[in-house]
Symmetry: C2
Subunit: 419 residues, 2 copies
Amino acid sequence: MRQSQLFTKTRREAPKDEVAKNAQLLIRAGYIHKEMAGVYAFLPLGLRVLKNIEHIIREEMNAIGGQQVSLTALQDKNLWEKTDRWDDAKIDNWFKTKLKNGSETGLGITHEEPLTNIMSEYVSSYRDLPAYVYQFQTKFRNETRAKSGIMRGREFLMKDLYSFSATEEQHAEFYQKAKAAYVRIFDKVGLGESTYVTFADGGIFSKYSEEFQTVSEAGEDLIYVDVQKGIAVNKEVLNDEVLAELGLKREDLIEKKSIETGNIFNLGTRFAEQLGLQFKNEAGELKHAIMGCYGIGLSRLMGTVVETLSDEKGIVWPINIAPFKAHIILVSSSEESKARAEEAYKVLGEQLDGVLYDDRDARAGEKFADADLIGLPYQILIGDKNQKDGNDNWLCEVKNRKTGEVQHVVLADIASAIK
Amino acid sequence: MRQSQLFTKTRREAPKDEVAKNAQLLIRAGYIHKEMAGVYAFLPLGLRVLKNIEHIIREEMNAIGGQQVSLTALQDKNLWEKTDRWDDAKIDNWFKTKLKNGSETGLGITHEEPLTNIMSEYVSSYRDLPAYVYQFQTKFRNETRAKSGIMRGREFLMKDLYSFSATEEQHAEFYQKAKAAYVRIFDKVGLGESTYVTFADGGIFSKYSEEFQTVSEAGEDLIYVDVQKGIAVNKEVLNDEVLAELGLKREDLIEKKSIETGNIFNLGTRFAEQLGLQFKNEAGELKHAIMGCYGIGLSRLMGTVVETLSDEKGIVWPINIAPFKAHIILVSSSEESKARAEEAYKVLGEQLDGVLYDDRDARAGEKFADADLIGLPYQILIGDKNQKDGNDNWLCEVKNRKTGEVQHVVLADIASAIK
């Protein structure tokens, strides 16, 4: 895309009321717009990042047998009364509203209730199980405080998968598969090294839940990491009994602030019992489905990447989720350089599924500062100072945004050099 | 996808409270789930249709220079007060709710206000215009009656594009481009022949708006069609003056019931004035941007296809939006036929980007009835009655769902025969 056509522009300052680093940088670079605290619109570059994250997650969810649906935001109060999660005294972050006829409805904070209800219409035999159903859906949560940018939204995009199993064995098998898929997702989005599977409170359903916690100074959680073993324990369950059970020693653990970027829960049969999700097993006995739930907040993931991987110049996107892999920067007004930049735009655009091309009539220094702020993985400088190789082909200056490393590469080789 | 794995199943009956034909069929075939009146979840097959429609629209919007964003559902009351569209006396279908601090917010019925506000941060010169910005977003409208299935939802997916132009000429040029893109969209989704560009009331902004009206008995609008000229007039503006202006004669017009499946509006400078979207023109004078808005409801489009193209056996999907192009139906339990069906599933799945494969242990009659209800464009029957061609290759029976026409085709030729 030509930067002269992109309607967003970079800004020197973020809005004064924005205190989160992730939102400050994303607003300054033109990725998002703050509608109100905890409510952000995604502008063209920001939406591309979100869609790249979505694509990575979808592939992994499909690979483990997930079937994609799209449930509704507006919720049927009756379903939530059956599970005792409608009352504001029980769930304190509902946004509630009313239909014209006066009946109450609320905006989905999560989707166990509606999906369990849907499944009860389709599941009647053990042959109908297991089933794994997921969606990318906007969740609405009426947070009292929303000061963490896109990491804690009042309205945010989440992937939630729910598993429905006939037996504990089926459930356990899928749970492990989902966990492995999550590990792959964190690797692919560029957070693999800083993210730990973390034992946390399992609530009323099971002893533990497992969280994916990404180490960050901006985190609201405290975890205790055994770096050697690559696992962590959330402060909320840190006690001698748990340590013994997990084979961890207190002296090996390092305290870290962290962001909960994903979680997987055993839900047991609670929702199936309350909402009537029953099936006949092989012996003809009526049983309740065993459920699990597996969540990742996409915007939180995006915010975490910005929090943890940015530098003093701006954002540094991992290549798999960058809005574009490369930023062509034309730093000359000569016709000859311009022609080479146009050629590079055409060739690399096709090879890399789009690039950003700074074709603006602006100073080189301004273009460099903007490119660093926007944070695409590779910057391709084209100007009058470019040299030719031995075969009389022009060399472009290809700079790695993260490391600063510079290579001089002929156009035909750039795509393979940076993919 | 293997039908034995698909968690949805067909049903004989739709819910008793569902009166719309589109929703009855879509529920019976397992495409959607009714959460409450006017609020429908999209199940795996239904979501695939919606995504196919989205893909067609996105291509056309990108082709005319649209930049995709994703605005928010939660709305800033202040912006809507500036345009006098917050008060329930002015806009009567708001869903409103409150933040924890007691301040009011509402769920987006449309997005002129927030987008105009965003653009005011980025537009300052005529050089920043024109700009075309679109999104696929859930709209929330608190309809008093919601009895038209997915054609009139309280929560529904819409594509809305907004154009921002510096001059009337710029605006008019894009308006015509957008209109042509809409014509292509209706052609591609399979409604081209039954959809008319229809002159309708332009509201306070301009003399006319243009609607895309699809002829259907389920329609809530009345239009007067000049079939020869391929245009129509909405009843609301049918008078002698308008007819004279459009060069139409009353005796050439045929009254039809129709569904408004798209619309394009001139918005003039109203929103730019009320929300301060100004720019300096070439002469250095401050001007307000001229806006247009261009909407298509995706779920309404999907519902309209079902209303207008179904037959007594079920749904008939146009090939571009069908959840899968082909339905492989195994009608034998012999190992030999099963092996051929598995082979077809593998080969066609790769060639056609997925197929539905009825591998269930069920009677042939049940499979045929389900396939007709589900309505994929081509049914590929594989069983013991298949014959071989002269080269000793098995022929599959390929049936066109719409016409009933049957061909006998070797596996290697099926994809090219039905694409």
